[in-house]
Structure formats: structure tokens, C-alpha cells
Symmetry: C2
Subunit: 365 residues, 2 copies
């Protein structure tokens, strides 16, 4: 069989240093598990702007379309802020990847690690054992809707427009992913929108309800307005199992949920496309955290989120569930042993660098 093809896009800020730890795990898999990956590497975001003048070159996009899965670090930073051309922001590279690869389903687990329960600003009993999965629509909505832009409307006035748009099939395909994942978990799905204010949200609610009736009656479905969702997440997060929501609400609510766990540096994500004839989905894996320019290049970043993203990659793109579990367990054991990067440091624990965290995880493996 052909080797498994991976494209590495380390990106900006702490992206390269956390991705380096994934390389080490890949070497370990090659040596110890006899599982070999063909890894190519490319530029995205600010790094690509500096090199090519665009946040994603055509060649890199072509490569991303050709591989089995993309591993991404992070994009963005103050260096590339406020450019005059809106298509030349680092973020545009990531958005193009999502759109061109058709990665419509963004899976964002919000999980509280037992060893880190005190890292949250929420009370321990509210979040202990928390395990929710947010499925965010990723290629539609106001992120990509047309018309969009800023126009001069005279008298020194300007007008900024974006368009929130969803179609039946866009809603159904992401809802289907969410229902299917719910079946493998707690069998509960909560769909969030603002159907009381936005027609696009009303359509969302209607189509999710319809699909539920047609194919997923065994899954317990509820609906919530997104503002209430933001409140219920805080009030009683454990009421949720899987949440499905649109691109923009998903951006906000998944970040809220991530911060609630208190360990942003621990949270992975997967972005999946539609299955092809062989059941293979295009996919991109990245940590939930950003490029953290303030600590970039100082060997301080937490590599766990990226390593756990690689575990998701093994599971979803290569069906290597056992290996995914090995990595997840190694990370848990290292945390259990008291190792902490700065972001999750707590009294009585051992503060370590990115590299040392990687060392420990490899030793554990």
C-alpha cells in the first residue's frame, strides 16, 4: 500500500515549535510501530505572506488537495495585522484551505483533564469530567457569504456588509456528522442558532428537525438559541453531549467552551470534508489555540493540543485508533506525573518547556 501522505503547515508564532513535537512522534511511529508517513511541509499564513506575498500559494493548496491529511500549527500575528488588502491576511490562508478542501465539519472537543481540573476559572464540580463535542459548520455562513465588502456611500459614509447564508444541503451534511458522532457518544444532540431573529437560523432549525425525523430518531435532539447556549454552557456544561451550530456561533461558543476547560493548550480539533467513494474524507487537524506571538520561539508553548490533534488525525484519517489512544494515554500519564508547561502550571507541579514536554511524552510512549 502507498504510504500515508501528510502535509505539515506549521504556520506562524508557536506553530512551528509545537509541530516539531509531532515530527518526533511520527519518527517514533516509524521506528516502533512500523507505520510510515510521507510528510511534506509547506507555508501558510504570515509565513507564506513573507515568502510568497500570499497567505497560501497555489502550489501549497494543490499539495493540500493531494495528501491524505493536513496538520496545521497556527496562523496570524501582529506583524501581519491591518493590511490594506483583505485577502492578504494570514487568516485568509486558513479560510481558503477550509473552503477549497470542503472541510465543512469542524469537530472541537471540550474535555476537562482530571489532572487539570483546577486550571479552570470555573468551579471544579461544575466542570470535572466534562466531555462535550462541538460540531461547527466551517465552510458556509457569514464567513463566505456574498455579497460582502466595504463600499463608499457618499457624505464620508461607508457601509460594511457580510451575508449569512445557508442552504438545505449545507445544513443537512453537517447535522448528519453531528448526529452520527452523537450516536457513538452520549446519543444527545443540541442544535444552536437564533431562529427567533434570523431566518437562516429558522431554516437551520427546520432542516435539523427534519433530518432527525428521517434518520436519527434514536438520538435525543434539542434546540437552543445561541445566546441561551452561551449561558447554559456556563451554568451547567455537563447537560451537553454533542452541540451542532453554524460557523460564526461555533467560532464563539467553541472558544467559550474551550476556555471553560481551563486548558486551551490541551484542545485539538479536526476539520472534515465529505467522504469520497472509498469513504475517505479530506481533513485538516489543528490545535484550538492560536499562534500566541507573545511566547513564540521561546520553547514555552504547550505541544499537547497539537499532539492530540495528531491523535485525531490517526483516528479519523487513518483508522489507527489504537495508536491514537497510545498518544492520548501518554499525555494523560505525563500530566498525571506532574509535568506542566507554563500555561497549565499549578502549585506543586513541575514547570517544563515545549521540548521537555515532548521528551516526556516520547519517553512515556
Amino acid at each position: 500500500a502507498a504510504n500515508k501522505k501528510l502535509l505539515f503547515l506549521p504556520g506562524d508564532g508557536i506553530g512551528p515549535e509545537v509541530m516539531r513535537q509531532v515530527r518526533r512522534v511520527i519518527d517514533w511511529m516509524d521506528r516502533k510501530r512500523k507505520i510510515t508517513f510521507d510528510v511534506s511541509e509547506g507555508l501558510v499564513g504570515g509565513a507564506a505572506i513573507d515568502a510568497h506575498g500570499v497567505p497560501l500559494s497555489d502550489a501549497t493548496l494543490a499539495e493540500a488537495l493531494a495528501v491524505d491529511a493536513v496538520m496545521l500549527g497556527a496562523v496570524g500575528g501582529p506583524k501581519w495585522d491591518n493590511p490594506t488588502d483583505y485577502t492578504k491576511r494570514p487568516e485568509a490562508g486558513l479560510l481558503t484551505l477550509r473552503k477549497e478542501l470542503g472541510l465543512f465539519a469542524n469537530l472541537r472537543p471540550a474535555v476537562v483533564f482530571d489532572a487539570l481540573v483546577d486550571a479552570s476559572t470555573l468551579k471544579a464540580d461544575v466542570i470535572r469530567g466534562l466531555d462535550i463535542l462541538i460540531v461547527r459548520e466551517l465552510t458556509g455562513g457569514v464567513y463566505f457569504g456574498e455579497p460582502r465588502g466595504i463600499t463608499d456611500i457618499g457624505n464620508g459614509e461607508r457601509r460594511g456588509v457580510n451575508t449569512q447564508v445557508y442552504t438545505t444541503s449545507e445544513i443537512r451534511r453537517v447535522a448528519r456528522v453531528a448526529f452520527e458522532l452523537a450516536r457513538k457518544r452520549g446519543n444527545k444532540l443540541c442544535s444552536m442558532e437564533k431562529a427567533n431573529v434570523m431566518e437562516s437560523g429558522l431554516l437551520w432549525r427546520q432542516e435539523v428537525t427534519k433530518l432527525h425525523g428521517e434518520e436519527f430518531q434514536d438520538v435525543e435532539l434539542s434546540h437552543m438559541y445561541a445566546d441561551n447556549g452561551a449561558m447554559q454552557l456556563l451554568k451547567n456544561p455537563k447537560q451537553f453531549d454533542v452541540i451542532v451550530t453554524d460557523n460564526l456561533f461555533g467560532d464563539i461558543l467553541s472558544d467559550e467552551a474551550a476556555m471553560m476547560t481551563g486548558s486551551l493548550g490541551m484542545l485539538p480539533s479536526a476539520s472534515l470534508g465529505a467522504p469520497d467513494a472509498n469513504g475517505h474524507r479530506k481533513a485538516l487537524y489543528e490545535p484550538v489555540h492560536g499562534s500566541a506571538p507573545d511566547i513564540a520561539g521561546r520553547d514555552l508553548a504547550n505541544p499537547c493540543a497539537t499532539l492530540l490533534s495528531f491523535a485525531m488525525c490517526l483516528r479519523y484519517s487513518f483508522n489507527l485508533d489504537e495508536d491514537a489512544k497510545l498518544i492520548e494515554r501518554a499525555i494523560q500519564n505525563v500530566l498525571g506525573g506532574g509535568m506542566r508547561t507554563s500555561d497549565i502550571m499549578a502549585p506543586g507541579m513541575a514547570r517544563c518547556s515545549t521540548t521537555v514536554m515532548g521528551d516526556s511524552i516520547l519517553r512515556e510512549l
Copy 2:
């Protein structure tokens, strides 16, 4: 001088019972403070749908336009959910009021009362003493933008559209309110949008920056992406003083902030229009909480949020700062004495009904 004119719109669910306590305070003001209000009453939301077939009658709207200020309870409930006609939802009554009265600035304080610091799911030291003010744009953005609606696009597919739109002057007028309020408080303003993804957000950021340079250089201004805002609110809420954001982000972020305080039943809001020639602004005051249909009519609701909304009304619409403070202090003292409605009940406190809470506050006054 003509009497002060108030329109009461109790609305649905617990709206009428919490508004009843405001009546009692108004009677007290008449008797003890020699301040008299002309109070008229009307229907809004589900109550208006039941009576007139529309969530806000033309007569009630005309009355709202004629008075000095509107006091609203809450709208909505399962009884009126999913109507086939989108303009016949209870929420449409509230949205029409906001739009027709031009109430573009929605002030939502998120304050933690010392006596209630343990009611939050957040750790006490994270939120003790919290006092932030969210200024939400309320008559623009995706709530009102055109085109909007659901259309058939063939093959059994439908398409739902909403439009996010902001103009220079819409952004400036709400930012001005926020800057002015910041000056009277901690002198810090944080503006939130998704300028990295939405052009309407980029325009927002540019216009806020421009206004800051022109008129408010003494106020410390920062910008934050709204998803990061949702995280920072949880991570370290006390970093904020005043936050200004658009209608949709404001809906979500202010609910998140409200729930963080742990005492949703305690939070008031004010919605203000532009000042007229005499400096008078059209205004509507309402609690942040909803209509809570599950406990409606059972004398269980917390009337404090509505009473504090009335205090805001005294302050902003009638310049009666002293009387506003009397009410605020009375509520604080009653809480200090251990009185609690169910929503804020805690061990060692005295559980009381809506009416008894009202009794205690009046006695304190």
C-alpha cells in the same frame, strides 16, 4: 411641569409579576418622595398576539413613541413558538419597539453583588467585585439587515439569508455612547468584532479607532476578536471596564457575561436612542432575563432585575440619581439580610417569593 410619562409593557411569562413590584415602588415614590408618574399599560409579545393577533399593536407603538420611557417585562414562551408567520413571533414586538424608537444603544451591566458571589459557577476570586458594562448596538446588524428570508431554490432545497450591515454613522453613534460611559467609569473601552473574517467588522474597527482619535484620546481603547472576547471574559473578566460590540455579538457576549455573575435575576438593562433637542433620549428598560415560562404565575420570580431596570430608568430618563440609588441600596440591604428568591437561594439564606421580596425592598425603602 407635566408628569413623567411611563408606559408599562409587562409582556409574557413572569413579566407581569415582576412588573407588579415596580408599581409598588412607583406608589411609594408618589407618597414618600412626591414624585409622580403617569403610568399607562399595554400589551407586547405573546400577550399582544393573543389579544390583537400581532406582537405589538399600532396603538401601543404610538403610545411608546409618546411617553418619556418604556418599562418592559419579558416576551416569549412555548405557546407562541414556531408560528408560520415570522412577523407574528413575540420577539418581533420587542424588535419593532427597538427599531421604531431608535434604541441603538443597549447598556447591559454585568455586576457581581457581594452577597451573591457564590451563586456563580465561576470561582469567587475571579468574579468578586466584577463590574463591567456591555454596550450592545441594538438597531442594526444582522437583526435588521436586508435582504433576508427563506427561498425555494429547486430540487427540494431552500436557502436562508440574513444580512449583516453597518454604516459609519451607526457605528459612531453607539461607540460615542460607549466612550462617554467609559469616561464616567474606569476610562477603558474594549471593542469586539471579527475584523479578521468580516468586512463589516473591519469597518467597525476602523470607525471606532477613528472616533477615538478624533474625540476620545483620553479613553484607553483596545480591540479584540469576538471569539477571543468570549474567552477573555471567562479567563479574566476584571480586565474589562466597558465593552462595545454589535447587535449579534452583543446578544451572545452579554448573556455570557450575565451568566458569569451567577445572578441573572439581578441584572437590568437600558436601551437608549439619540438625544433630542432637549437632550432627552427615547428609552426602554427591561431585565436581562427572559420570560421564564416554567415558573410563570407562581410568585417565584426574582423582581430585582426589573426593579434595578427601573432604577436605571430613574437615572437615565429622569435624572433622578438619588432615587435610583435609594432603590439600589434597598435591594443590596435586603440581599445582605439574607432574603433570596429561588434563583439565587443558597444554604443559610431565607427563601422568599416575588411578593415577599417586594415587601422587603419596600420596607427597606
